[in-house]
């Protein structure tokens, strides 16, 4: 189970990076950025996962029973908020780039070179 989870995280990161490098469309590229970020969710959650454990809500389970690590869930939530901000900003820039340049192909944006 855990090998699969870690493998998934690594796969998501690599495939996202591959997508960014080969992308010819800014919207597609921003989505690839969020794929890379998804790998961090999977990784963080699997780091804190415990087999046969319940959710870390201690109100209605007997004390001392196994629960998954609550910290990783807090970290993932923070991470989601961060991602929402970054992706929203990058998408806004992509929309603006389409208005300004009439294209979404990053290799056709030319003002900066050399």
């Amino acid at each position: 189970m855990s090998v699969l989870a870690y493998g998934t995280a690594a796969w998501l990161m690599l495939v996202g990076l591959y997508g960014i490098v080969t992308s010819r469309n800014l919207i597609h590229m921003v989505i690839c950025v969020s794929v890379v970020q998804s790998s961090t969710y999977v990784l963080i959650l699997s780091v804190g996962y415990r087999v046969n454990a319940s959710a870390p809500i201690f109100a209605d389970i007997p004390p001392g029973s196994r629960a998954v690590d609550p910290i990783v869930q807090a970290l993932t939530l923070t991470d989601v908020v961060v991602e929402a901000t970054v992706v929203a900003l990058l998408l806004a820039l992509a929309v603006q780039a389409h208005k300004r340049f009439g294209t979404l192909d990053p290799s056709e944006l030319t003002p900066l070179r050399g």
Binding site: L17, T40, I44, V47, V86, L90, Q96, P111, R113, G114
Partner: protein, 603 residues
């Protein structure tokens, strides 16, 4: 202490909420007042810091040596970087009051968010918070870069900046997650305590590589540097002040923090290999940055490459992995920050007046006799000489300390030549601009002479203006004076030496965070200035002036022409790599991190 971060963030929230109703003057005043308040608070906290003060949020104190809450762990260097960030933000905000003709009030709010993030990044003692503040800093920076969102340049610059740095921060987060998986801790002191005593295994090395990779992207280390020149060329000048002056240096500060206070224990046996890797990266960055700097005609982009070259220099200092190197780098950073800030503001004065920062287009146009242009001329000459480490001013003390630290390190004495050459080349480019723009020296070059299209000009202000507002010339003048004179303050040098000693003492760091008995940290004795320092500095200044002179008066000797014929294709090849296409940048990032990882695997 939490006020240092809360004040700017609350100020930003107030500005964002009431921006529609408040008049422009009130918005500017609130922004500047918040920034000044942060300067004061950070200075008080830092002055209060004997070795370190630790603040636990919400009163969650550690149980034994298990951190339950989240802490700010402030030592002299962290506090000092926070003060430096706050001072530069204040200066940039004062300068911006008259810089923009029309500006949304969200600009001040974004600047305050940026400030809050930088201060938090400096003070935090928690690895995950380090990431959060890093990301907050980045997002504010992307938005500030693209502030003039209707223009083509800022858009492309912000997209390249945003995507490259986001990938970097995900690397960093992955590394932090791996460390958390290994140690079950996020507090840096607790991670250090858990990891120390065991040599690093594969997982710890990969985690270090990923955290380092994220920070090196932010620090614009070659080959991860491409975003910086694009972002700096197009961001508004007062924002560039912060990017160049502190933001990239903060990434290196983060690297030093993570290495010394977390990783130095498990990596103790690998220090030699890590040192070689970091110094090699630093040398590569310093050289490529200097070459690209000389090759630019867009003044802001030229200053951006000068910053890249200097971050390479700072990385060499940190990469020595000893307190001397760290102290020298810190001292260098302070002088560089003020001088580079003044230079970007002077470039802003040119942009405000002539709506152009193309060196050839502005040839001789800076000869006006009014205060604004005189200050700009003075800043370019003084900044150039200051960055060339003219004895006893500017970066002289930092650079001399770095040279002596490098000279003491076994087998790295040749790096001194790199330090001198790159400082001279970047300073020479600045002096060349001074000569061409403000004195009209040098041959006339048509706009489309260069082999590659230069950056197109993006008006940041509605200009051209006939005169420069007094505030806009006073701020860079003050920063120039501070930058030139700051090395002469002996107490600053002592504080940095002590701060470097505290930061590099991991055992005491852990003990202080958990309120245990800490051994007394011995401050780093600073080496007295030797005659060598003056020789090196004189050499740097001579080479810098020579560089500028050769560029302005191309000699007709055969040697020079042969040299030009050999060098030009090489420079053009390096310039072509800076393609402006973000796909290429990410490919470079992946390849660069893979190579660094390979180097770390071999050590």
């Amino acid at each position: 202490m939490p006020l240092t971060v809360a004040v700017p963030l609350l100020g930003a929230a107030v500005l964002a909420a009431f921006c529609k109703v408040l008049p422009r003057a009130a918005i500017d005043a609130i922004g500047v007042l918040c920034a000044i308040a942060v300067v004061t608070l950070c200075a008080l906290v830092t002055a209060d810091t004997g070795h370190m003060i630790v603040y636990w949020f919400g009163g969650f104190h550690p149980h034994g040596s298990v951190a339950v809450g989240i802490s700010f762990s402030v030592d002299r260097l962290g506090g000092g970087m926070a003060v430096l960030s706050a001072v530069l933000v204040t200066a940039a905000m004062v300068y911006s009051v008259h810089y923009f003709d029309e500006i949304g009030s969200l600009y001040s709010a974004l600047m305050l968010v940026f400030l809050g993030a930088m201060v938090g990044f400096c003070l935090t003692g928690d690895l995950f918070d380090l990431f959060v503040f890093f990301e907050l800093m980045s997002v504010a920076a992307y938005a500030l870069t693209a502030y003039k969102i209707e223009e083509a340049g800022p858009l492309q610059g912000a997209i390249n900046f945003g995507i490259t740095n986001s990938v970097g921060s995900f690397f960093m987060l992955t590394g932090i997650a791996l460390l958390y998986g290994r140690t079950g801790a996020l507090n840096m002191a607790q991670i250090a305590a858990t990891l120390s005593g065991h040599p690093a295994d594969g997982l710890v090395k990969v985690a270090l590589l990923l955290i380092m990779g994220g920070l090196l992207i932010k620090a614009a280390i070659v080959p991860l540097h491409f975003w910086l020149a694009d972002a700096h060329a197009v961001a508004p000048a007062p924002v560039c002040v912060l990017f160049s002056g502190v933001m990239v240096e903060l990434a290196l500060y983060g690297l030093a923090r993570v290495y010394w206070d977390v990783m130095s224990g498990p990596l103790a046996s690998h220090a030699g290999g890590l040192r070689a890797t970091l110094i090699a990266l630093g040398v590569l960055t310093a050289v490529i940055g200097a070459v690209m700097c000389v090759a630019q005609r867009h003044i802001k982009r030229m200053l951006a490459f000068s910053t890249i070259s200097h971050t390479g220099t700072f990385l060499i200092g940190i990469g020595l992995l000893n307190p001397h190197g760290l102290a020298a780098a810190a001292q260098y950073v302070v002088a560089h920050a003020f001088l580079k800030a003044a230079l970007f503001m002077a470039a802003g004065i040119l942009l405000h007046r002539f709506v152009s920062v193309d060196e050839h287009e502005l040839r001789g146009r800076g000869r006006g006799a009014d205060a604004g242009l005189r200050v700009a001329a003075l800043v370019f000459v003084g900044g150039g000489l200051g960055l060339a480490a003219l004895p006893v001013v500017g970066t002289f003390f930092g650079k001399s300390a770095l040279e002596s630290a490098v000279g003491d390190a076994h087998g790295y004495a040749w790096v001194i030549a790199v330090l001198i050459l790159t400082a001279a080349l970047t300073a020479g480019a600045i002096l060349r601009v001074a000569g061409r723009v403000f004195a009209g020296w040098g041959p006339e070059v048509s706009r489309h002479h260069s082999e590659l299209s230069a950056v197109s000009d993006m008006p940041e202000t509605l200009g051209p203006h006939d005169r420069t507002p007094a505030v806009m010339s006073a701020t860079p003048a003050i920063l120039l004076v501070v930058g030139l004179g700051i090395g002469l303050v002996p107490s600053l040098r002592d504080a940095i030496a002590q701060g470097a000693a505290t930061m590099t003492d991991r055992a005491s760091y852990v003990a202080r965070v958990f309120d245990l008995h800490a051994a007394h940290t011995v401050p780093v004795p600073h080496a007295p200035l030797s005659a060598e320092a003056f020789v090196f500095a004189a050499l740097t200044v001579v080479v810098a002036v020579l560089t500028a002179w050769l560029a302005l008066r191309p000699p007709s000797w055969r040697v020079a022409r042969t040299g030009e014929r050999v060098l030009t294709p090489m420079i053009v090849a390096v310039r072509r790599l800076h393609s402006g296409c973000v796909n290429d940048y990410i490919a470079w990032v992946v390849a660069g991190i893979a190579v660094i990882g390979g180097a770390l695997a071999l050590i």
